[in-house]
Protein backbone atom coordinates (compact mmCIF):
# COMPACT_ATOMS: atom_id res chain seq x y z
CA UNK A 1 0.00 0.00 0.00
CA UNK A 2 1.00 3.59 -0.51
CA UNK A 3 0.86 6.24 2.18
CA UNK A 4 0.75 9.97 1.49
CA UNK A 5 0.78 12.71 4.11
CA UNK A 6 -1.48 15.68 3.39
CA UNK A 7 -1.16 17.28 6.81
CA UNK A 8 1.11 16.43 9.73
CA UNK A 9 0.64 19.46 11.95
CA UNK A 10 -1.10 19.19 15.30
CA UNK A 11 -3.58 21.37 17.13
CA UNK A 12 -4.06 24.23 14.67
CA UNK A 13 -3.07 25.03 11.09
CA UNK A 14 0.20 26.88 11.16
CA UNK A 15 1.17 28.19 7.75
CA UNK A 16 4.11 30.52 7.38
CA UNK A 17 7.53 30.87 5.86
CA UNK A 18 9.12 28.97 8.73
CA UNK A 19 6.78 26.01 8.27
CA UNK A 20 6.91 25.45 4.51
CA UNK A 21 9.01 22.30 4.40
CA UNK A 22 7.07 20.25 6.96
CA UNK A 23 3.81 22.01 6.19
CA UNK A 24 1.15 23.72 8.23
CA UNK A 25 -1.93 21.67 7.43
CA UNK A 26 -3.42 19.53 10.17
CA UNK A 27 -3.79 15.76 10.29
CA UNK A 28 -4.68 13.94 7.10
CA UNK A 29 -3.11 10.80 5.64
CA UNK A 30 -4.16 8.95 2.50
CA UNK A 31 -3.70 5.22 2.15
CA UNK A 32 -3.95 3.92 -1.40
CA UNK A 33 -4.53 0.19 -1.28
CA UNK A 34 -2.92 -2.10 -3.80
CA UNK A 35 -6.44 -3.07 -4.86
CA UNK A 36 -7.21 0.52 -5.81
CA UNK A 37 -9.38 1.71 -2.94
CA UNK A 38 -8.54 4.88 -1.07
CA UNK A 39 -8.74 5.35 2.69
CA UNK A 40 -8.39 8.75 4.30
CA UNK A 41 -7.22 8.97 7.89
CA UNK A 42 -8.59 12.11 9.54
CA UNK A 43 -10.00 15.22 7.95
CA UNK A 44 -7.72 17.99 9.14
CA UNK A 45 -7.07 20.89 6.80
CA UNK A 46 -4.82 18.67 4.67
CA UNK A 47 -7.88 16.90 3.29
CA UNK A 48 -8.79 19.95 1.22
CA UNK A 49 -5.73 19.55 -1.01
CA UNK A 50 -6.22 15.80 -1.09
CA UNK A 51 -9.79 16.28 -2.30
CA UNK A 52 -8.64 18.44 -5.16
CA UNK A 53 -6.62 15.43 -6.34
CA UNK A 54 -9.49 12.94 -6.04
CA UNK A 55 -11.43 14.06 -9.06
CA UNK A 56 -12.41 10.62 -10.29
CA UNK A 57 -12.85 8.74 -7.02
CA UNK A 58 -16.55 7.95 -6.61
CA UNK A 59 -16.42 6.36 -3.12
CA UNK A 60 -14.31 7.63 -0.27
CA UNK A 61 -13.90 6.24 3.23
CA UNK A 62 -12.78 8.71 5.87
CA UNK A 63 -11.62 7.25 9.18
CA UNK A 64 -11.70 9.84 11.95
CA UNK A 65 -9.66 9.21 15.08
CA UNK A 66 -11.67 11.77 17.06
CA UNK A 67 -13.55 14.98 16.58
CA UNK A 68 -11.15 17.63 17.79
CA UNK A 69 -11.14 20.47 15.31
CA UNK A 70 -7.68 19.80 13.92
CA UNK A 71 -8.97 16.40 12.76
CA UNK A 72 -12.23 17.49 11.13
CA UNK A 73 -11.70 21.10 10.11
CA UNK A 74 -11.02 20.26 6.47
CA UNK A 75 -14.19 18.25 6.05
CA UNK A 76 -16.25 21.28 5.10
CA UNK A 77 -13.73 22.14 2.39
CA UNK A 78 -13.32 18.62 0.99
CA UNK A 79 -14.29 18.98 -2.68
CA UNK A 80 -16.00 15.55 -3.00
CA UNK A 81 -18.52 16.70 -0.37
CA UNK A 82 -19.86 19.12 -2.95
CA UNK A 83 -20.15 16.67 -5.86
CA UNK A 84 -23.43 14.82 -6.23
CA UNK A 85 -21.71 11.78 -7.71
CA UNK A 86 -19.56 11.29 -4.59
CA UNK A 87 -20.30 8.67 -1.97
CA UNK A 88 -18.55 9.33 1.33
CA UNK A 89 -18.55 7.08 4.38
CA UNK A 90 -17.27 8.71 7.54
CA UNK A 91 -16.17 6.39 10.35
CA UNK A 92 -15.50 7.61 13.85
CA UNK A 93 -15.67 6.89 17.56
CA UNK A 94 -19.03 6.18 19.14
CA UNK A 95 -20.22 8.30 22.01
CA UNK A 96 -23.10 7.79 24.45
CA UNK A 97 -23.81 11.49 24.16
CA UNK A 98 -24.84 11.83 20.51
CA UNK A 99 -24.49 10.15 17.13
CA UNK A 100 -21.39 10.71 15.04
CA UNK A 101 -23.44 12.71 12.54
CA UNK A 102 -24.90 14.96 15.22
CA UNK A 103 -21.49 15.62 16.73
CA UNK A 104 -19.94 16.48 13.37
CA UNK A 105 -22.97 18.61 12.55
CA UNK A 106 -22.06 20.87 15.45
CA UNK A 107 -19.20 22.04 13.28
CA UNK A 108 -20.91 21.86 9.89
CA UNK A 109 -23.82 24.06 10.90
CA UNK A 110 -24.59 27.69 11.71
CA UNK A 111 -23.02 29.82 12.97
CA UNK A 112 -19.72 28.04 12.28
CA UNK A 113 -20.58 27.00 8.74
CA UNK A 114 -22.62 28.40 5.85
CA UNK A 115 -23.90 24.91 5.00
CA UNK A 116 -25.53 22.13 6.97
CA UNK A 117 -24.67 18.43 6.70
CA UNK A 118 -28.09 17.73 5.19
CA UNK A 119 -27.40 20.27 2.43
CA UNK A 120 -24.26 18.54 1.17
CA UNK A 121 -24.97 17.28 -2.36
CA UNK A 122 -22.86 14.13 -1.94
CA UNK A 123 -24.17 10.86 -0.58
CA UNK A 124 -22.64 10.90 2.90
CA UNK A 125 -23.15 8.38 5.68
CA UNK A 126 -21.78 8.21 9.21
CA UNK A 127 -20.74 4.98 10.89
CA UNK A 128 -19.54 4.23 14.39
CA UNK A 129 -16.45 2.06 14.17
CA UNK A 130 -17.25 -1.57 15.01
CA UNK A 131 -15.84 -3.17 18.13
CA UNK A 132 -14.19 -5.84 16.02
CA UNK A 133 -12.15 -5.44 12.87
CA UNK A 134 -13.93 -4.96 9.58
CA UNK A 135 -13.05 -4.79 5.92
CA UNK A 136 -12.96 -1.91 3.50
CA UNK A 137 -12.09 -3.10 0.02
CA UNK A 138 -9.02 -5.29 0.31
CA UNK A 139 -8.04 -3.89 3.71
CA UNK A 140 -8.82 -5.12 7.17
CA UNK A 141 -9.35 -2.21 9.50
CA UNK A 142 -9.18 -2.29 13.26
CA UNK A 143 -9.94 0.58 15.62
CA UNK A 144 -9.27 0.76 19.33
CA UNK A 145 -9.68 3.43 21.95
CA UNK A 146 -6.41 5.06 22.98
CA UNK A 147 -5.34 7.52 25.64
CA UNK A 148 -6.24 11.06 24.62
CA UNK A 149 -8.80 13.59 25.73
CA UNK A 150 -12.30 12.46 24.84
CA UNK A 151 -13.27 9.37 22.84
CA UNK A 152 -10.30 8.77 20.55
CA UNK A 153 -9.30 5.90 18.31
CA UNK A 154 -6.16 4.57 16.79
CA UNK A 155 -6.36 2.57 13.55
CA UNK A 156 -4.54 -0.36 12.09
CA UNK A 157 -4.99 -0.93 8.37
CA UNK A 158 -3.79 -4.26 7.03
CA UNK A 159 -3.64 -5.32 3.41
CA UNK A 160 -2.10 -8.72 2.76
CA UNK A 161 0.77 -8.98 5.19
CA UNK A 162 1.41 -5.24 5.36
CA UNK A 163 0.10 -3.09 8.21
CA UNK A 164 0.03 0.64 8.88
CA UNK A 165 -0.85 1.86 12.34
CA UNK A 166 -2.06 5.43 12.77
CA UNK A 167 -2.25 6.95 16.27
CA UNK A 168 -1.83 10.70 15.74
CA UNK A 169 -3.04 11.84 19.16
CA UNK A 170 -1.82 9.65 21.97
CA UNK A 171 -0.37 9.94 25.44
CA UNK A 172 0.41 6.32 26.36
CA UNK A 173 2.74 7.31 29.21
CA UNK A 174 0.13 9.35 31.07
CA UNK A 175 0.46 8.47 34.74
CA UNK A 176 3.00 5.72 34.22
CA UNK A 177 6.36 4.90 32.74
CA UNK A 178 6.30 2.96 29.48
CA UNK A 179 9.54 1.26 30.43
CA UNK A 180 7.95 -0.34 33.47
CA UNK A 181 4.57 -1.41 32.11
CA UNK A 182 3.72 -4.85 30.82
CA UNK A 183 2.51 -4.68 27.21
CA UNK A 184 -1.09 -5.49 28.13
CA UNK A 185 -1.23 -2.24 30.10
CA UNK A 186 0.08 0.02 27.34
CA UNK A 187 -2.58 1.95 25.44
CA UNK A 188 -2.44 1.14 21.73
CA UNK A 189 0.07 -1.68 22.08
CA UNK A 190 -1.87 -4.32 20.16
CA UNK A 191 -2.71 -1.87 17.39
CA UNK A 192 0.92 -0.94 16.83
CA UNK A 193 2.55 -4.29 17.42
CA UNK A 194 4.96 -5.16 14.59
CA UNK A 195 3.39 -2.60 12.26
CA UNK A 196 5.31 -2.04 9.05
CA UNK A 197 4.74 1.68 9.54
CA UNK A 198 3.70 3.36 12.78
CA UNK A 199 2.48 6.93 12.38
CA UNK A 200 2.50 8.30 15.92
CA UNK A 201 2.04 11.47 17.90
CA UNK A 202 5.33 13.14 18.79
CA UNK A 203 4.28 16.68 19.59
CA UNK A 204 6.81 17.58 22.26
CA UNK A 205 10.45 17.48 23.16
CA UNK A 206 10.95 15.80 26.51
CA UNK A 207 11.56 19.07 28.31
CA UNK A 208 8.37 20.56 26.85
CA UNK A 209 6.24 17.69 28.08
CA UNK A 210 6.02 18.46 31.82
CA UNK A 211 4.04 21.62 31.03
CA UNK A 212 1.64 19.57 28.91
CA UNK A 213 0.98 16.43 30.92
CA UNK A 214 -2.57 15.29 30.39
CA UNK A 215 -3.05 17.24 27.19
CA UNK A 216 -3.16 13.96 25.28
CA UNK A 217 0.13 14.06 23.39
CA UNK A 218 3.52 12.38 23.51
CA UNK A 219 7.02 13.48 24.24
CA UNK A 220 9.79 12.22 21.97
CA UNK A 221 11.12 9.78 24.57
CA UNK A 222 7.72 8.19 25.01
CA UNK A 223 7.09 7.93 21.27
CA UNK A 224 10.43 6.22 20.76
CA UNK A 225 9.85 3.96 23.72
CA UNK A 226 6.38 3.05 22.42
CA UNK A 227 7.77 2.28 18.95
CA UNK A 228 10.62 0.21 20.38
CA UNK A 229 8.32 -1.69 22.71
CA UNK A 230 5.78 -2.46 19.97
CA UNK A 231 8.43 -3.49 17.45
CA UNK A 232 7.35 -1.05 14.74
CA UNK A 233 9.48 -1.52 11.64
CA UNK A 234 9.23 2.12 10.58
CA UNK A 235 8.26 5.10 12.68
CA UNK A 236 6.84 8.36 11.39
CA UNK A 237 6.75 11.23 13.90
CA UNK A 238 3.48 13.08 13.50
CA UNK A 239 1.28 15.85 14.90
CA UNK A 240 4.04 18.46 15.01
CA UNK A 241 3.54 21.24 17.50
CA UNK A 242 2.38 24.45 15.77
CA UNK A 243 5.29 26.32 17.36
CA UNK A 244 7.92 24.01 15.91
CA UNK A 245 9.50 25.52 12.83
CA UNK A 246 11.21 23.68 9.99
CA UNK A 247 14.64 24.27 11.49
CA UNK A 248 13.44 23.10 14.87
CA UNK A 249 11.98 19.93 13.36
CA UNK A 250 15.23 19.23 11.50
CA UNK A 251 17.05 19.15 14.83
CA UNK A 252 14.17 17.23 16.38
CA UNK A 253 14.50 14.56 13.70
CA UNK A 254 18.27 14.22 14.17
CA UNK A 255 17.83 13.82 17.89
CA UNK A 256 15.02 11.30 17.49
CA UNK A 257 17.02 9.18 15.07
CA UNK A 258 19.90 9.00 17.51
CA UNK A 259 17.60 8.00 20.33
CA UNK A 260 15.74 5.46 18.20
CA UNK A 261 19.07 3.84 17.30
CA UNK A 262 20.08 3.82 20.95
CA UNK A 263 16.79 2.09 21.72
CA UNK A 264 17.65 -0.73 19.36
CA UNK A 265 15.79 0.64 16.35
CA UNK A 266 17.19 1.65 13.00
CA UNK A 267 17.56 5.43 12.85
CA UNK A 268 17.17 5.32 9.09
CA UNK A 269 13.69 3.89 9.60
CA UNK A 270 12.54 6.92 11.55
CA UNK A 271 11.03 9.66 9.46
CA UNK A 272 9.18 12.88 10.00
CA UNK A 273 5.65 13.42 8.82
CA UNK A 274 6.13 15.84 5.93
CA UNK A 275 3.21 17.32 4.05
CA UNK A 276 3.24 16.04 0.47
CA UNK A 277 5.57 13.12 1.16
CA UNK A 278 4.52 9.67 0.04
CA UNK A 279 6.04 6.25 0.32
CA UNK A 280 5.39 2.62 -0.38
CA UNK A 281 4.79 0.39 2.62
CA UNK A 282 5.43 -3.28 2.07
CA UNK A 283 6.15 -4.68 -1.33
CA UNK A 284 4.65 -2.89 -4.31
CA UNK A 285 2.33 -5.13 -6.33
CA UNK A 286 3.57 -6.50 -9.61
CA UNK A 287 1.89 -4.92 -12.60
CA UNK A 288 -0.65 -7.20 -14.22
CA UNK A 289 0.18 -5.69 -17.59
CA UNK A 290 3.19 -7.18 -19.31
CA UNK A 291 5.66 -4.54 -20.22
Amino acid sequence: MKVKVWGARGSVPSPGPDMNRYGGNTSCVQISLDSGEELILDAGTGIRTLGMNLLSEPHVNILLTHLHLDHIQGLMFFPPCFRSESTITIWGPASPEASLEDRIARYISAPLSPVEVRELPCDVSFRDTPASEWTIGSATVRAEAVTHRGPTLGYRVTEGDTSVCYIPDHEPALGSSLEDLEPEWISGFDLARDADLLIHDCQYEDDEYPDHIGWGHSAMGDTISFAARTGAHRLMLFHHDPLHTDDFLDRFCDQARGRFTAAGGDGDRLEMGIEGADSQVGTAPQSAVAG
Binding site: D190, R229, A263, G264
Partner: protein, 157 residues
Protein backbone atom coordinates in the same frame (compact mmCIF):
# COMPACT_ATOMS: atom_id res chain seq x y z
CA UNK B 1 8.66 18.15 37.46
CA UNK B 2 11.26 15.66 36.22
CA UNK B 3 12.10 15.54 32.56
CA UNK B 4 10.99 12.31 30.94
CA UNK B 5 13.98 10.30 29.92
CA UNK B 6 14.25 7.23 27.78
CA UNK B 7 16.05 4.21 29.15
CA UNK B 8 16.81 1.76 26.34
CA UNK B 9 18.08 -0.91 28.68
CA UNK B 10 14.67 -0.89 30.35
CA UNK B 11 12.84 -1.24 27.06
CA UNK B 12 15.08 -4.12 26.09
CA UNK B 13 13.72 -6.06 29.03
CA UNK B 14 10.46 -6.27 27.19
CA UNK B 15 11.70 -7.09 23.73
CA UNK B 16 10.72 -10.72 23.94
CA UNK B 17 7.88 -10.29 26.37
CA UNK B 18 5.26 -9.26 23.83
CA UNK B 19 1.70 -9.61 25.02
CA UNK B 20 1.46 -12.34 27.59
CA UNK B 21 -2.19 -11.49 28.24
CA UNK B 22 -4.70 -9.89 25.94
CA UNK B 23 -4.52 -6.13 26.06
CA UNK B 24 -6.62 -4.47 28.73
CA UNK B 25 -9.43 -2.17 27.64
CA UNK B 26 -8.51 1.50 27.78
CA UNK B 27 -10.78 2.21 30.73
CA UNK B 28 -8.88 -0.33 32.85
CA UNK B 29 -5.56 1.12 31.73
CA UNK B 30 -6.70 4.60 32.76
CA UNK B 31 -8.11 3.27 36.04
CA UNK B 32 -4.76 1.68 36.84
CA UNK B 33 -3.03 4.97 36.09
CA UNK B 34 -5.41 6.72 38.48
CA UNK B 35 -4.86 4.19 41.27
CA UNK B 36 -1.11 4.47 40.80
CA UNK B 37 -1.36 8.20 41.46
CA UNK B 38 -3.39 8.21 44.67
CA UNK B 39 -2.60 7.37 48.27
CA UNK B 40 -5.95 5.70 49.08
CA UNK B 41 -5.47 1.91 49.09
CA UNK B 42 -7.30 0.49 46.10
CA UNK B 43 -7.84 -2.69 44.08
CA UNK B 44 -8.58 -2.96 40.39
CA UNK B 45 -10.62 -5.98 39.31
CA UNK B 46 -11.31 -7.04 35.76
CA UNK B 47 -14.69 -8.26 34.50
CA UNK B 48 -13.98 -11.76 35.84
CA UNK B 49 -13.19 -10.46 39.34
CA UNK B 50 -9.49 -11.13 38.86
CA UNK B 51 -7.29 -8.80 40.88
CA UNK B 52 -5.31 -7.24 38.05
CA UNK B 53 -3.69 -4.43 40.03
CA UNK B 54 -3.45 -2.82 43.44
CA UNK B 55 -1.57 0.31 44.35
CA UNK B 56 1.33 0.91 46.71
CA UNK B 57 -0.95 1.97 49.55
CA UNK B 58 -2.91 -1.25 49.25
CA UNK B 59 0.38 -3.09 49.19
CA UNK B 60 1.33 -1.46 52.50
CA UNK B 61 -2.01 -2.54 53.94
CA UNK B 62 -1.62 -6.10 52.68
CA UNK B 63 2.04 -6.46 53.55
CA UNK B 64 3.04 -7.34 50.02
CA UNK B 65 3.37 -5.33 46.83
CA UNK B 66 1.57 -6.03 43.56
CA UNK B 67 4.94 -6.50 41.91
CA UNK B 68 5.45 -9.46 44.23
CA UNK B 69 2.04 -11.07 43.81
CA UNK B 70 1.17 -10.30 40.21
CA UNK B 71 -2.33 -10.88 38.93
CA UNK B 72 -4.49 -13.10 41.14
CA UNK B 73 -7.61 -15.11 40.36
CA UNK B 74 -10.66 -14.60 42.63
CA UNK B 75 -10.07 -17.75 44.67
CA UNK B 76 -6.43 -16.82 45.07
CA UNK B 77 -6.84 -13.27 46.29
CA UNK B 78 -9.83 -13.97 48.51
CA UNK B 79 -8.00 -16.95 49.99
CA UNK B 80 -4.94 -14.81 50.69
CA UNK B 81 -6.44 -11.53 51.88
CA UNK B 82 -10.09 -12.21 52.67
CA UNK B 83 -12.75 -10.87 53.12
CA UNK B 84 -13.53 -12.19 56.60
CA UNK B 85 -16.14 -11.19 59.11
CA UNK B 86 -15.19 -9.82 62.52
CA UNK B 87 -14.96 -13.38 63.90
CA UNK B 88 -12.53 -14.36 61.20
CA UNK B 89 -14.97 -16.45 59.17
CA UNK B 90 -14.43 -16.14 55.43
CA UNK B 91 -17.15 -14.26 53.56
CA UNK B 92 -18.12 -15.71 50.21
CA UNK B 93 -17.17 -13.09 47.65
CA UNK B 94 -20.51 -13.59 45.91
CA UNK B 95 -22.25 -12.58 49.13
CA UNK B 96 -20.30 -9.37 49.42
CA UNK B 97 -22.13 -6.18 48.53
CA UNK B 98 -19.14 -4.89 46.58
CA UNK B 99 -19.53 -7.78 44.18
CA UNK B 100 -22.60 -5.94 42.96
CA UNK B 101 -20.25 -3.39 41.46
CA UNK B 102 -19.37 -6.02 38.90
CA UNK B 103 -22.48 -8.16 38.72
CA UNK B 104 -25.06 -5.40 38.63
CA UNK B 105 -23.00 -2.42 37.55
CA UNK B 106 -23.93 -0.63 40.77
CA UNK B 107 -21.76 1.14 43.36
CA UNK B 108 -21.61 -0.53 46.76
CA UNK B 109 -20.13 -0.16 50.21
CA UNK B 110 -19.12 -2.91 52.64
CA UNK B 111 -17.43 -3.40 56.00
CA UNK B 112 -15.25 -6.46 56.48
CA UNK B 113 -11.83 -7.62 57.57
CA UNK B 114 -8.81 -8.57 55.54
CA UNK B 115 -5.60 -10.26 56.59
CA UNK B 116 -2.19 -9.03 55.62
CA UNK B 117 0.49 -11.50 54.61
CA UNK B 118 2.05 -10.82 58.00
CA UNK B 119 -1.05 -12.16 59.72
CA UNK B 120 -2.38 -8.77 60.81
CA UNK B 121 -6.13 -8.28 60.78
CA UNK B 122 -7.33 -5.07 59.14
CA UNK B 123 -10.85 -3.90 59.84
CA UNK B 124 -11.81 -1.87 56.84
CA UNK B 125 -14.69 -0.39 54.96
CA UNK B 126 -14.64 -0.46 51.21
CA UNK B 127 -16.41 1.34 48.40
CA UNK B 128 -16.61 -0.25 44.99
CA UNK B 129 -17.36 1.49 41.73
CA UNK B 130 -18.08 -0.34 38.49
CA UNK B 131 -16.12 0.75 35.44
CA UNK B 132 -18.61 1.12 32.64
CA UNK B 133 -17.47 1.91 29.10
CA UNK B 134 -20.27 0.41 27.07
CA UNK B 135 -23.77 -0.93 27.42
CA UNK B 136 -22.38 -4.44 27.65
CA UNK B 137 -21.79 -4.11 31.39
CA UNK B 138 -18.89 -3.42 33.68
CA UNK B 139 -15.43 -4.15 32.34
CA UNK B 140 -14.07 -4.06 35.87
CA UNK B 141 -14.33 -2.31 39.21
CA UNK B 142 -12.25 -0.14 41.48
CA UNK B 143 -12.42 -0.86 45.21
CA UNK B 144 -11.17 1.75 47.64
CA UNK B 145 -10.34 0.89 51.27
CA UNK B 146 -10.42 2.89 54.47
CA UNK B 147 -9.65 1.80 58.03
CA UNK B 148 -12.96 1.26 59.81
CA UNK B 149 -13.80 3.86 62.46
CA UNK B 150 -13.45 2.34 65.93
CA UNK B 151 -17.08 3.13 66.72
CA UNK B 152 -18.26 2.13 63.27
CA UNK B 153 -20.54 -0.71 62.28
CA UNK B 154 -19.29 -4.25 62.31
CA UNK B 155 -18.60 -6.33 59.30
CA UNK B 156 -21.51 -6.54 56.93
CA UNK B 157 -21.62 -7.72 53.42
Amino acid sequence: MPVVTYAPEAANRWKNARVAQSQKPLELILARNLLTSISTPAFLLDEQSRLVFYNESAGALLGISFEETGRMDPTEWTGTFGPFDDEGTPIDIDELAITRALLDGRPAHSNFCIHSTKGEERRIEASAFPIMASEEGASGAMIFFWPRATNGEGARG
